[in-house]
Protein backbone atom coordinates (compact mmCIF):
# COMPACT_ATOMS: atom_id res chain seq x y z
CA UNK A 1 0.00 0.00 0.00
CA UNK A 2 1.33 3.42 -1.00
CA UNK A 3 2.27 5.70 1.87
CA UNK A 4 1.90 9.45 1.58
CA UNK A 5 2.62 11.52 4.67
CA UNK A 6 1.71 15.17 5.04
CA UNK A 7 2.93 17.66 7.64
CA UNK A 8 1.73 19.49 9.50
CA UNK A 9 -1.75 18.03 9.91
CA UNK A 10 -3.10 21.33 11.17
CA UNK A 11 -1.79 24.85 10.68
CA UNK A 12 -2.96 28.29 11.71
CA UNK A 13 -1.31 31.15 9.84
CA UNK A 14 -1.66 34.91 9.77
CA UNK A 15 -2.58 36.89 6.69
CA UNK A 16 0.56 37.84 4.79
CA UNK A 17 2.66 35.16 6.39
CA UNK A 18 4.54 32.40 4.60
CA UNK A 19 3.26 28.84 4.85
CA UNK A 20 4.97 25.66 3.70
CA UNK A 21 3.09 22.38 3.50
CA UNK A 22 5.20 19.25 3.15
CA UNK A 23 4.54 15.89 1.59
CA UNK A 24 6.60 12.72 1.57
CA UNK A 25 5.92 9.49 -0.32
CA UNK A 26 7.80 6.23 0.09
CA UNK A 27 6.75 4.32 -3.00
CA UNK A 28 8.98 5.82 -5.63
CA UNK A 29 6.11 7.25 -7.66
CA UNK A 30 7.13 9.71 -10.34
CA UNK A 31 4.05 11.90 -10.15
CA UNK A 32 2.95 13.97 -7.18
CA UNK A 33 0.03 16.37 -6.82
CA UNK A 34 -1.35 19.04 -4.53
CA UNK A 35 -5.13 19.46 -4.29
CA UNK A 36 -7.30 21.63 -2.13
CA UNK A 37 -10.71 20.51 -0.94
CA UNK A 38 -13.54 22.94 -0.30
CA UNK A 39 -17.21 22.27 0.27
CA UNK A 40 -19.08 22.48 -3.00
CA UNK A 41 -15.95 22.25 -5.11
CA UNK A 42 -14.57 18.81 -4.47
CA UNK A 43 -10.84 18.49 -5.07
CA UNK A 44 -9.09 21.06 -7.24
CA UNK A 45 -5.58 20.63 -8.60
CA UNK A 46 -3.08 23.33 -7.60
CA UNK A 47 0.31 22.04 -8.76
CA UNK A 48 1.79 18.73 -9.81
CA UNK A 49 5.14 17.23 -10.64
CA UNK A 50 6.44 14.51 -12.95
CA UNK A 51 9.66 14.01 -11.01
CA UNK A 52 12.44 15.66 -9.04
CA UNK A 53 13.07 19.19 -10.19
CA UNK A 54 9.81 19.52 -12.14
CA UNK A 55 6.68 21.42 -11.21
CA UNK A 56 3.63 22.18 -13.33
CA UNK A 57 0.66 24.45 -12.80
CA UNK A 58 -2.67 22.83 -12.20
CA UNK A 59 -6.10 24.37 -12.49
CA UNK A 60 -5.85 26.90 -9.62
CA UNK A 61 -2.15 27.79 -9.17
CA UNK A 62 -2.51 31.49 -8.34
CA UNK A 63 -1.06 32.33 -4.94
CA UNK A 64 0.82 29.03 -4.66
CA UNK A 65 4.27 27.76 -5.50
CA UNK A 66 5.53 24.20 -5.48
CA UNK A 67 8.89 22.56 -5.02
CA UNK A 68 10.02 19.00 -5.79
CA UNK A 69 13.58 18.67 -4.51
CA UNK A 70 13.60 14.88 -4.62
CA UNK A 71 11.54 11.90 -5.77
CA UNK A 72 10.08 11.56 -2.28
CA UNK A 73 9.27 15.15 -1.33
CA UNK A 74 6.87 17.71 -2.73
CA UNK A 75 6.11 20.98 -0.98
CA UNK A 76 3.39 23.57 -1.43
CA UNK A 77 4.34 27.14 -0.57
CA UNK A 78 2.07 30.06 0.17
CA UNK A 79 4.36 33.10 0.07
CA UNK A 80 1.70 35.57 1.23
CA UNK A 81 -1.16 33.65 2.80
CA UNK A 82 -4.68 35.04 2.49
CA UNK A 83 -7.93 34.02 4.24
CA UNK A 84 -9.24 32.68 0.90
CA UNK A 85 -6.56 30.00 1.13
CA UNK A 86 -8.17 28.54 4.23
CA UNK A 87 -8.89 24.98 3.16
CA UNK A 88 -7.92 21.35 3.50
CA UNK A 89 -4.93 20.47 1.35
CA UNK A 90 -4.22 16.99 0.05
CA UNK A 91 -1.04 15.64 -1.44
CA UNK A 92 -1.18 12.61 -3.69
CA UNK A 93 1.25 10.41 -5.56
CA UNK A 94 0.85 7.97 -8.41
CA UNK A 95 2.20 6.60 -11.62
CA UNK A 96 0.77 5.68 -14.95
CA UNK A 97 1.49 2.02 -14.24
CA UNK A 98 0.97 1.10 -10.63
CA UNK A 99 0.60 -2.62 -10.17
CA UNK A 100 -2.03 -2.87 -12.85
CA UNK A 101 -4.26 -0.22 -11.30
CA UNK A 102 -3.45 2.36 -13.90
CA UNK A 103 -3.01 5.86 -12.64
CA UNK A 104 -4.33 5.30 -9.14
CA UNK A 105 -3.73 8.28 -6.93
CA UNK A 106 -2.72 7.65 -3.32
CA UNK A 107 -3.66 10.51 -1.03
CA UNK A 108 -2.23 11.67 2.24
CA UNK A 109 -4.47 12.38 5.23
CA UNK A 110 -4.60 16.10 4.51
CA UNK A 111 -3.50 19.36 6.13
CA UNK A 112 -6.14 21.66 7.54
CA UNK A 113 -4.98 25.24 7.05
CA UNK A 114 -6.64 28.27 8.61
CA UNK A 115 -5.45 31.73 7.59
CA UNK A 116 -6.60 34.41 10.02
Amino acid sequence: EAAVTQSPRNKVAVTGGKVTLSCNQTNNHNNMYWYRQDTGHGLRLIHYSYGAGSTEKGDIPDGYKASRPSQENFSLILELATPSQTSVYFCASGDAETGGRQNTLYFGAGTRLSVL
Binding site: V4, N31, G40, Y48, F107
Partner: protein
Protein backbone atom coordinates in the same frame (compact mmCIF):
# COMPACT_ATOMS: atom_id res chain seq x y z
CA UNK B 1 -16.25 25.62 -14.77
CA UNK B 2 -17.19 22.33 -13.20
CA UNK B 3 -16.30 19.60 -15.70
CA UNK B 4 -17.66 16.83 -13.52
CA UNK B 5 -20.98 17.16 -11.73
CA UNK B 6 -22.40 14.92 -9.05
CA UNK B 7 -25.85 14.47 -7.60
CA UNK B 8 -27.28 14.37 -5.10
CA UNK B 9 -25.09 16.42 -2.80
CA UNK B 10 -26.24 14.28 0.11
CA UNK B 11 -28.01 10.91 0.22
CA UNK B 12 -29.48 9.02 3.16
CA UNK B 13 -30.50 5.38 2.83
CA UNK B 14 -31.44 2.59 5.22
CA UNK B 15 -29.13 -0.31 5.85
CA UNK B 16 -29.65 -2.97 3.18
CA UNK B 17 -30.90 -0.58 0.52
CA UNK B 18 -29.12 0.19 -2.74
CA UNK B 19 -27.61 3.66 -2.85
CA UNK B 20 -27.35 5.30 -6.28
CA UNK B 21 -24.89 8.13 -6.81
CA UNK B 22 -24.92 10.03 -10.08
CA UNK B 23 -22.19 11.71 -12.09
CA UNK B 24 -22.10 13.57 -15.41
CA UNK B 25 -19.29 15.17 -17.37
CA UNK B 26 -18.74 17.73 -20.10
CA UNK B 27 -15.62 16.69 -21.98
CA UNK B 28 -16.14 13.93 -24.52
CA UNK B 29 -12.40 13.24 -24.44
CA UNK B 30 -12.57 11.87 -20.90
CA UNK B 31 -11.99 8.13 -21.01
CA UNK B 32 -11.21 7.04 -17.45
CA UNK B 33 -13.62 7.47 -14.55
CA UNK B 34 -12.55 6.51 -11.03
CA UNK B 35 -14.67 6.81 -7.93
CA UNK B 36 -12.92 7.74 -4.71
CA UNK B 37 -14.25 7.12 -1.21
CA UNK B 38 -13.38 9.46 1.64
CA UNK B 39 -13.99 8.95 5.36
CA UNK B 40 -13.88 11.92 7.75
CA UNK B 41 -10.33 12.93 8.65
CA UNK B 42 -8.80 10.83 5.87
CA UNK B 43 -7.71 11.33 2.32
CA UNK B 44 -9.73 9.92 -0.57
CA UNK B 45 -8.98 6.35 -1.64
CA UNK B 46 -9.74 4.67 -4.95
CA UNK B 47 -12.88 2.56 -4.74
CA UNK B 48 -13.60 1.44 -8.29
CA UNK B 49 -12.94 2.73 -11.81
CA UNK B 50 -14.24 2.27 -15.34
CA UNK B 51 -12.92 3.01 -18.81
CA UNK B 52 -15.11 4.47 -21.52
CA UNK B 53 -14.89 1.27 -23.59
CA UNK B 54 -17.01 -0.50 -20.96
CA UNK B 55 -20.57 0.13 -19.86
CA UNK B 56 -20.44 -1.70 -16.55
CA UNK B 57 -17.88 -2.51 -13.88
CA UNK B 58 -18.49 -4.52 -10.74
CA UNK B 59 -16.33 -4.96 -7.67
CA UNK B 60 -17.93 -6.58 -4.65
CA UNK B 61 -21.09 -4.68 -3.82
CA UNK B 62 -20.08 -1.67 -5.93
CA UNK B 63 -21.16 -1.30 -9.57
CA UNK B 64 -20.54 1.48 -12.06
CA UNK B 65 -23.00 1.92 -14.93
CA UNK B 66 -21.60 4.07 -17.74
CA UNK B 67 -23.46 5.74 -20.60
CA UNK B 68 -21.02 7.25 -23.08
CA UNK B 69 -23.68 8.72 -25.35
CA UNK B 70 -25.36 10.57 -22.48
CA UNK B 71 -22.01 11.39 -20.79
CA UNK B 72 -23.10 10.15 -17.44
CA UNK B 73 -22.39 7.33 -15.03
CA UNK B 74 -23.68 6.12 -11.72
CA UNK B 75 -22.29 4.24 -8.75
CA UNK B 76 -24.61 1.66 -7.21
CA UNK B 77 -23.85 0.48 -3.70
CA UNK B 78 -25.78 -2.71 -3.13
CA UNK B 79 -26.87 -3.76 0.37
CA UNK B 80 -25.54 -0.54 1.91
CA UNK B 81 -23.98 -0.82 5.36
CA UNK B 82 -23.31 1.87 7.98
CA UNK B 83 -19.61 1.40 7.22
CA UNK B 84 -20.28 2.66 3.70
CA UNK B 85 -21.15 6.07 5.12
CA UNK B 86 -18.61 8.36 3.49
CA UNK B 87 -18.20 11.00 0.82
CA UNK B 88 -17.90 9.65 -2.71
CA UNK B 89 -16.13 11.56 -5.45
CA UNK B 90 -16.56 10.90 -9.13
CA UNK B 91 -13.54 11.89 -11.24
CA UNK B 92 -12.60 11.93 -14.90
CA UNK B 93 -9.42 12.05 -16.95
CA UNK B 94 -8.32 12.17 -20.57
CA UNK B 95 -6.09 9.38 -21.75
CA UNK B 96 -2.99 11.51 -22.14
CA UNK B 97 -3.47 13.64 -19.04
CA UNK B 98 -1.10 11.65 -16.79
CA UNK B 99 -3.16 11.74 -13.65
CA UNK B 100 -4.78 15.12 -14.03
CA UNK B 101 -8.07 14.04 -12.58
CA UNK B 102 -11.06 16.36 -12.58
CA UNK B 103 -13.17 15.74 -9.48
CA UNK B 104 -16.82 16.35 -8.85
CA UNK B 105 -18.00 18.08 -5.68
CA UNK B 106 -18.84 14.78 -4.01
CA UNK B 107 -21.90 13.00 -2.60
CA UNK B 108 -22.12 12.49 1.13
CA UNK B 109 -23.73 9.11 1.81
CA UNK B 110 -25.30 8.32 5.17
CA UNK B 111 -26.47 4.77 5.83
CA UNK B 112 -28.86 4.47 8.75
CA UNK B 113 -28.82 1.19 10.71
Amino acid sequence: QQQVRQSPQSLTVWEGETAILNCSYENSAFDYFPWYQQFPGEGPALLIAIRSVSDKKEDGGFTIFFNKREKNLSLHIKDSQPGDSATYFCAARRGSALGRLHFGAGTQLIVIP
